[in-house]
Amino acid sequence: MSTGWQARLDFSRPGEVTVRTGKVEYGQGIWTALAQIAAEELDIALDQVRVAPVSTATSPDEGTTSGSRSIEDGGSALREACVQARSALLAGAAAKLGVSAGELSVSDGQILAPSGGTGLTYWSVAGPGADSPGGGGGKPAGQWSVAGRSAPRLDIPDKVTGRPRFLHDLVLPEMAYGRVVRPPARAAELTGLDEVRLPPGAVVVRDGSFLGVVAGRDRDAVRAAGLLARAARWRVTESLPDERDLAGFLLAAPAQEQPVTERRDEAAAAAVTRRLAADYTRPFIAHASMAPGCAIARWFQRPDGEAVTVWSHSQGPFALRAAIATGLGLGPEQVTVQHVEGAGAYGHNGADDVALDAVLLARAVPGRPVRVQWTREDEMGWGPLGPAMLVRLSAGLDAGGRIASWRQDVYSNGFIGRPGSGGEPRLLALSHLAGGGPMPPAPDGPPTGAMGATRNAVPLYDIPDLAVTRHRLLDMPVRTSSLRSLGAFGNVFAIESFMDELAAAAGSDPVEFRLAHLSDPRARRVLTEAAGLAGWAGRRGGLGGSPPRGEDPREGAGFGAGVARYKGTSGYCAAVAEVEAETEVRVRRLWLAVDVGRVISPDGVINQVEGGAVQSASWAVSERVRFDRAGITSVSWDTYPILRFTQVPEVTVTIVPSDEPETGAGELAQGPVAGAIGNAVADAVGARVRDLPLTREQVARAIEEA
């Protein structure tokens, strides 16, 4: 593959620039934002940019599309490539014209001299010779004309008209259909298979406890899988903890204890006059994509040996390629992963696992592409889950009501269970194949990198005496991995809830109390903006305030705030929530203010923040993975309810203008919204609920215990 800007930009189609990115689209609108960056820096029109599908054969390896880093990393790399390309191509044009490159400009790819058109274009000067290194930074945001404005998403027209767009819609010539029969429990061994009459042509694949079938039509594959499931005999071992005592499980499991941050101040600690302590928990949470995982694989013979091509909606095509190769004893050059868009993933879901399923089934019918789609039950029952967490907090106030000391202990399984993490392929079927063992516990990254359970484990407040410790569980009875915002959802829920408890102990307004401990001006700004949007000053019933003019006080309503800087280093977000908690907890409204530095697409940012806020509200009041000792039991939308149209809050988002470097937006809202909702519930009912989700039962228990 070529290096330099040619690795990312292709001018071979006249009038069009093909952008090669390693970042994959899954509904977050990243390709539109990347196209805006390219159009801006190359001085071409947005509709002259085409983004090439990501393939391990032709795309730059930019790692996994996760962690809200696509704009920060993928966008920066693309901008740099565009600046170099523009500079190199203009240098080539200048040499041809005998002028200095500084005199030339570009409009829609036409190269212009001060007197007008030169007859040259990017496409006429691009070629093998045009690889002189260019230089210089991108345009200052003040000169942007394409970036910085909301561009209509490139993918939406297809999506509203039902055109084939998703991997699930892809039909390849000669394609066969495969289905996998999953074990009846997390720990189960396939001990026998009764005689069964399958649809004609069905091919059964059995290897250890991996059982699947390939047929010519999907209906036949589904029917055959159903027949096989009835014919299979399993030895089941109960391996899961007691779902009703998550805290007991999290505190008792063997764990690795590591300091995250330690900033001791003995004088401050000695000044503590009042100490508070509380434990907060979040349950296991499912990604619950609207589409179950899907993949197509084709195993074939090349002159140099066997090879497999996989079409996948994985967030990490390169890591998936390596994991498939490692898992099956192939060389990476024997595996090609071609990304095709899937439904929203929200982290590491079953996308990678189903890709290996497809490879294993395709190996049984060489030459034919085999499409495997998981069932809804597979997706909810077997996909990796966001880990349950317990956050143990204690803090001391001094005589003046300021936080002098803070201790935070985070108990969690690791969040970094993606393929390749910790040197392990981590694909589900590998633990079912003959000779396979249970998947090793997920890593969590170094304790100081805010990469996993420690994401946002360090409060952003000014606290003189601070110690944060991670306890990473060394058993993984329930498979865990990355879920949107990783540890931030649990940590910020805990920190922001506890801030309100401390504010109450200090007799302060929660927003005022935060501002008194917040010297970071950008954090202060978003909090002040969100509070202003919500009309905070008049709202808090418990503080004797009255609602803004023109609004009736609501019986049973409560208001709460939350704020965080994502990862401690990325974008800022503050949220204010209004809830009703008379029977069910109902989140009525959310007001958010964000600072994401320079903004490529304002509407793209707002869409991501709105979506993050609604999803976080759903996690906070509704979602909890249920399980018994054998396996996951919340495998349908009935047993794993998410918020519906009549239940979602009205969301208002404002972007605080900023000239700071751009950050991602997709995960900003998760923590602050959870904190705001928790605080609003406490404001409404007068009792603190410390265990998510904030269901009617949890609220009733908290009121009883208060």
Partner: protein, 157 residues
């Protein structure tokens, strides 16, 4: 299982397919008729991704046997645009940028079209009620409601 011939009217066209008596309509639409718009989400009618219009009513196609749709008018999202012009709901979804991943959007558009056919000027609350059987995981609910209200305004003009 013995297959049978099923005659379907989909987007105004007659089709005869050979399928099992219990073959889901969704499966026949996608695999036999090549329509990608209705999408599989759950298989038991709980998510709305596979919604189609059956005699004008929005309903799931994953838990309806194709044979049960004989003699009825089936309309998928592909059938809503007429004469090269998008249905007002489709245009409004684009105008409001009312999607993130978009996997649920076909079903949303179908439910919204059914609502506006019976209730041309709904309130936001009526839109939410009408779409309550359609799940969205990306959190684009607010935009979707705005899009449906915009489509209602434009149809009313």
């Amino acid at each position: 299982m013995d297959r049978q011939q099923v005659r379907l009217t989909v987007n105004g066209e007659e089709h005869t397919v050979t399928c099992e008596p219990d073959a889901p309509l969704l499966d026949v639409l996608r695999h036999d008729l090549g329509l990608a718009g209705p999408r599989f989400g759950c298989g038991i009618g709980l998510c709305g991704a596979c919604f189609v219009l059956v005699d004008g009513q929005a309903r799931s196609s994953c838990d309806l046997a194709a044979a049960a749709a004989e003699g009825r008018q089936v309309t998928t999202v592909e059938g809503l645009a007429a004469g090269g012009k998008l249905h007002p709901v489709q245009q409004a979804f684009i105008d409001e940028q009312a999607a993130q991943c978009g996997y649920c959007i076909s079903g949303m558009v179908v439910s919204a079209a059914a609502l506006l056919a019976s209730t041309p000027s709904p309130t936001a609350g009526q839109v939410a009620e009408a779409l309550d059987g359609n799940l969205c995981r990306c959190g684009t609910h607010g935009r979707i409601v705005r899009a449906v209200l915009r489509a209602a305004d434009q149809e009313g003009e």
